[in-house]
Symmetry: D3
Subunit: 338 residues, 6 copies
């Protein structure tokens, strides 16, 4: 049954060097607008839900372009506030084989989203209108004001009986020195409010400073995730293990921990066209599975296939419909579809 899902987050302008040129070689860029919230909201819209974005964009031509782009992605605009001055930006230079992709950020701290004053959003009202809200750890790294928005919004949703999804998504570069220590209290706040959490054993180890004497990733995962679920009272924890192979392919296995049980997807190995945003595709698959009350095995396979397909389309934002993902869950690769 179709639900109403709001994501809270910054809209970033992605400025991508075409092909495999460096920024110092090329003279054109392709641009699009994305962000974890954008990706989640749009992906869930493609699965038949109504996706909203709670964000702020400037009232200038860059903001207009962002709004047009979000509309194109199918995101309902009701909770997009116009104000402030800037859209956060990042430059993307595509890697090839042995040369990794490179992201260079412009100033995000002064973006409309990150400078939106108290009272910008009517969280009480929004919380009444939506079933689920999604937050991302990247947002948590921004500043006190944004963190305050996040917490207020999550609380409002909880009070209205809604579901809170939180994706840990810790980014070293954003937290700076002693980042894990700085981040811990804010992460704990969000975990306490969250129903569905995206994370893996590294988040438990480094952010939450939990301890284990296991050395193998899988064993660490199986010890720490249940502990996290218990400590913060979280219904569902899901995440992935990814490895990057030498031949432009990645391997990815998803897991979900629910009702005290771990369920793992098959390990998928696939060619990668655009890696950015694939984590959001996985998260949206988990959320969709939960909303549709899929069995855990189906949820985790669906999420993994959604993530795999997200590596094959251009841009940060997943573009696959539910039926395309279901088809990709079968083993064989199809010939041209006519």
């Amino acid at each position: 049954m179709a639900k109403k899902i709001a994501a809270f987050g910054e809209v970033m302008m992605r400025l991508q060097v075409p092909g495999f040129d460096l920024l110092s070689q090329a003279s054109t860029l392709s641009y699009s607008f994305s962000g974890s919230g954008v990706n989640i909201s749009s992906a869930l819209t493609r699965f038949g839900h109504t996706g909203y974005l709670v964000t702020t964009l400037p009232a200038n031509s860059v903001g207009d372009a962002a709004v047009s782009y979000l509309r194109k992605l199918g995101i309902t605009q009701s909770f997009v506030v116009r104000g402030g001055n800037y859209v956060g930006m990042y430059f993307l230079e595509n890697g090839f084989g042995a040369r990794p992709s490179r992201v260079t950020y412009s100033n995000r701290q002064d973006s409309s989203f990150n400078t939106a004053p108290d009272g910008t959003y009517d969280f009480a009202e929004i919380a009444k209108q939506v079933d689920v809200v999604h937050f991302c750890g990247i947002t948590l790294a921004m500043n006190d004001s944004v963190r305050h928005h996040m917490k207020c919004f999550a609380q409002a949703v909880k009070e209205n009986g809604g579901t809170v999804v939180f994706d840990c998504n810790y980014r070293t570069a954003h937290w700076g020195e002693d980042g894990y220590a700085k981040a811990k209290p804010f992460y704990e706040d969000m975990l306490q409010l969250a129903d569905i959490v995206m994370m893996n054993e590294n988040d438990a180890l480094f952010i939450l400073r939990m301890e284990t004497d296991k050395e193998n990733r899988q064993e660490q995962l199986m010890e720490l995730i249940p502990a996290v679920a218990r400590k913060y009272n979280i219904s569902v924890i899901a995440g992935t293990h990814r490895s990057i192979n030498g031949d432009n392919t990645h391997s990815l296995q998803g897991f979900i921990f629910k009702d005290q049980v771990f369920t793992f997807s098959r390990t998928l190995t696939f060619s990668v066209y655009d890696r950015i945003g694939a984590g959001d595709a996985y998260a949206s698959g988990i959320v969709h599975g939960e909303l549709e009350r899929f069995p855990a095995a189906r949820t985790v396979e669906f999420a993994a296939a959604a993530a795999m397909l997200a590596h094959t389309v251009a841009g940060d934002t997943p573009m696959s419909s539910e039926s395309e993902i279901l088809r990709a869950m079968s083993d064989s690769i199809g010939d041209v579809e006519r």
Copy 2:
């Protein structure tokens, strides 16, 4: 020795989304003009023959663009009729890895070719001027009027002592419900007139409803193809088995059945850039081998290499010369040719 070869078929406008974008992401298309007949006629021109196309194109700027494009491919225009209103079109979204390519057709039924009235073509005259004529099962799927053209043309060529090539090329989407049953009588008509036929065991099983108790593809092939040759009195039957691998490569093995003997090519495995039209490259290799009286082994290796190279060039239409194909028949992959 250079021969005169006419292909009968529709010219389609191919509208391709650049790169790996979806039609809902992009804003530009690249276009070209193709079709089985175009591909065969052009490929044989590159092998040193004179290729004609027997088709109808509208007398407007889309038709003009098609004619220019066919000329660029080296196709002699003498038998291209101008009339009717439309060119059939298809949109192509390139797949990547786990995501298959997707073809979306516009209305073909009202194209100039598919609405060309009786008497459009002077088949008796054309038959006098050409040595070989090529037909394709896709054309057979269109409508009664086109099927009538096909049969008349094939008969005229037979009466003039020419060679009739027929590629079964059954497309499920074009025949609709109960397609095999609908298609059978028309296929039988063409098989009875044909000297060289492109097909494999599936065509025998599904279209011609032949039976076998073999379960393995190879065994089915080796039982059914001789039966087809016998029943319809066909000199040469050739075809391929293809498999699609996970890493953007395909594997392909060709066969030829002639003088009661099967000859198989090596199984080639190769990276795929543009899969569409590769079957026509194989067919043109078989026809060229037959016209040049290559030994069967050389013919089938030549056709397989031609098909392999057709996967490495942009567009539906094969672009390789005879010498390039001969070079590719050797095992090693060359460095930059300077």
Copy 3:
């Protein structure tokens, strides 16, 4: 005050040759989706209203691309039906100076919109939800089924107290031989239901076969338009006179006839970048002026400025906001806006 405006009409895919190449010179096309209804609905959205489109699009990737594009333009999708098989298309080759632009249509008759069966739209329900509905004479040229939809929809809106806008927009090529005679009864049906009509003296003379002994266009206009308003009981009639100058500029003067009074805009002369769709910009300016109860002089100047600006942006669809149009109504041309 913001109103709800629905437009009824076909979505066309515009396939434009870039720059000033001919279709037989180029190899790429840029594409967008437009149509009178699209243009009107989007333009009024930019003026602060809520614009809907009542149309049918196929459930395939071309239809998906169209829906994405309409969303990008800000059009609310509630009344877009998915069904049928095709999107109508046209190719555009840009003219330059002495060489006129050229439009070549693909088959429109089999588009999803033109083949939508009875009962496709719930006009009674839609009529309850909207304040204004817009129809275009191009749609009237299509076929009986579409004309029947139009009439039902217009009647439903009238019954609900809504406003009916009708743009005569007679296209010779679509009506064929004896076109004016064929068209007349259908135009009369629509005029009888319309509150606001876009037309000029030529429509009265040729479609409605009204007579005048005046020879000068302006005199014909001033005699015939009041007669039309009287005969069909139309509140507002508006239109333009356009002339095309040798130096890539056009001149345009708008008029509005309302409450028995003619009001004319200044004659604007301006450089032309993209002429297509400018008439819809004018119409949307008139509708906006009426909805906002502008004085007639302001309405007609606003509409003329909207039309002028529509000639300066790429694509069929007007992109100007109300404030940009108001700024353009002043005389001087601005330097770079920083």
Copy 4:
């Protein structure tokens, strides 16, 4: 009645910087293949004749691309020889307003055409097959070997009763120091063999060193052209006067001198998109008029309109059909053609 026309000349590769960038600003080029002979042959093909090119192109991938391009333009390939090593090239940077366009040549002297040895072409055989042959003064500037080819070819055509067209087209840069003196004997050779000559008073004054005491261009023209016709026994002399205006427009008036009578076209003023090759469009209009036995006034207006339209299309080579030129000979500029 359709004639067979051969042009003798070099095929140049045009490498054009897109838009209005300089070569030191851009990173891409668009390429095409042209040359006076290409332009004339293609233009006359569009008027319904059969156009041949007598030239030499290398047997490598640049030569293949040239051949494909010529075919696309409709030029019959029978007399194209493959040999030598290079294609002549020129870079084009588009001017804008006060900044003139700039052409930079690569080495032409070593092109396949300019190094083709004696015996490359079977002029006796070609002369039997064609009605008209076209030569250009640019070719005359190349080297002795090419000049020898030209003279042999022209003589062979005369002997077979064909028509020789010669376009003086003197290019200062190609002849170098004392160019006029060097050029004179070669020009006189060609004039003595020519039936139709493209030139104006400057060619008479500077190349042929004829004298006049008139100072006004028009008076010089009217004195010198009849003298040239008499001295070299030329049936038809035609040419243009061009002026370049400040606002990206040019003005052009054509003349034809025939049967002792001057006929002038109207002076056309028009916006210029691509100036290169427009002189060849004029020449092909004159040749067509003569072949079709147009009255002189129609011939000169047709040629002038052909030249005007050639300024509005991309590339060196005229793209207009006879009917498009006839339409452009009327005064009014049309709206979009649908």
Copy 5:
């Protein structure tokens, strides 16, 4: 004689929407790097001088791209410091005819240049190595820290006997409310240090709050400029009057006031391709004239022609050589240069 000229200023990344699309229509941008200092330094390099830039750029891939671009423009890199985090950016949407171009800035305040700490530049050392230094009023609008750099640098140059050029270039948007009042003291500081100043009567009236009872611009100019020169002890004041015409052309007249004498250029009217940066072309023409000791009339005509040509090339930065400007100072517009 070739001089060494340093410009002090921010490098901006220009992100331009191609063609005439809006940012909300397009999906690609072309980028380049510019700024007043870049433009001046590069233009003077093209005139044969050695141009330096004194600026700060981040040590990331955007900074690398900027450095590469500056090198391409011929700017000597010795005084470019790498540090800070960001490059200032602006988006440019090209206007057309009645629709003005639009510039949207990203955050400049946090750019590497605008956050460079005290001691970043060794002004004493730089001042020893250069003959002339150029400053721009846009830089003055940034913040106290940058203004401090400017003043220190100008003083160091004065102390070393160098020439200080100051272009008033007041930008309303950058100074905010009460901008003129805020700006006045800083402008006065710079005027007192400057030898050559770019300004016109509006700067005197609005920034310097000088008074006149003249109402005509020309009369105001002729009264106020000498007063400014006197008050601040400035050797040379130069500037322009520009008007924007309806047909995509601008008119521009330059003046220079020197040795108590006004000299005016002809009024040039020309088609405009890229208006941005043309003021810097004018300033570089004035500086070059002064350095080369041109007579005033030649200087002002040279500067005006340099400005005119700068409107005809893509990008902010002038691309014309001295000889191209001298050629453009003659009246006639040339045909294609071969």
Copy 6:
């Protein structure tokens, strides 16, 4: 410690067909400027040295574009002479999988570099200013005049105590028939002057006609290279063995022979994006290692990693910094760098 390194060589214009189209399919080219000398000089600049190029370029717009491009690459222009008429060019059609890339040269013999007269370069002066000079065997293939330049330059450097690097780089196509025999004396001249030589056993066998009874490449290498070093008194000889795999990957192992000891790099296997110029990346890595006095093992791993990364960037010229190469020397492939 940063050194001054000059490379002597021709600048070529690379004209590349975009994507995987053939020259006869496409209509645009991307261009850049390269050559062994360009690649070496630019690569060493990126490692912190100062790179010069000793070459000649024409004083026209193609030469200007080349100079701008070299500056962009960071190459110091002091020793670039402007003269002659042409820039050598080559067309590049990218191969895919089984289809090899194809290079087609334009006329190089008449390039400015290859026609530069005696006395063009002041080698005595240049030799005083640089520490190292690099020569390439491709240059040696050109003509006597260029070979004379090479030898003079190498001698001058030796006399000044500088280091001479010589890359054998034998190209069959350039030397023509009996090429090895023709080449031998010139190669021996250079080897006698060289300190660091790039070659492998094939150069010893075929150019120097040395003999061995070993049949295995590795054994041949280990026997012949020490013999070469001894015979020509060379301090360092380095080179690679490369193999081309079926899946668009190459494998490459580097060696260095120094102080009588062979050191080998690991065999690297990597995906290939642009193979051209990778040999120059290897050479520049060897030179850098020697200049920085790396241990041999580090030098050869550094050079091999530099070569690997050069296969992953667009264009002939290596773009990697020292730190990027050091990072690539570790085993694991990184995720997106943010």
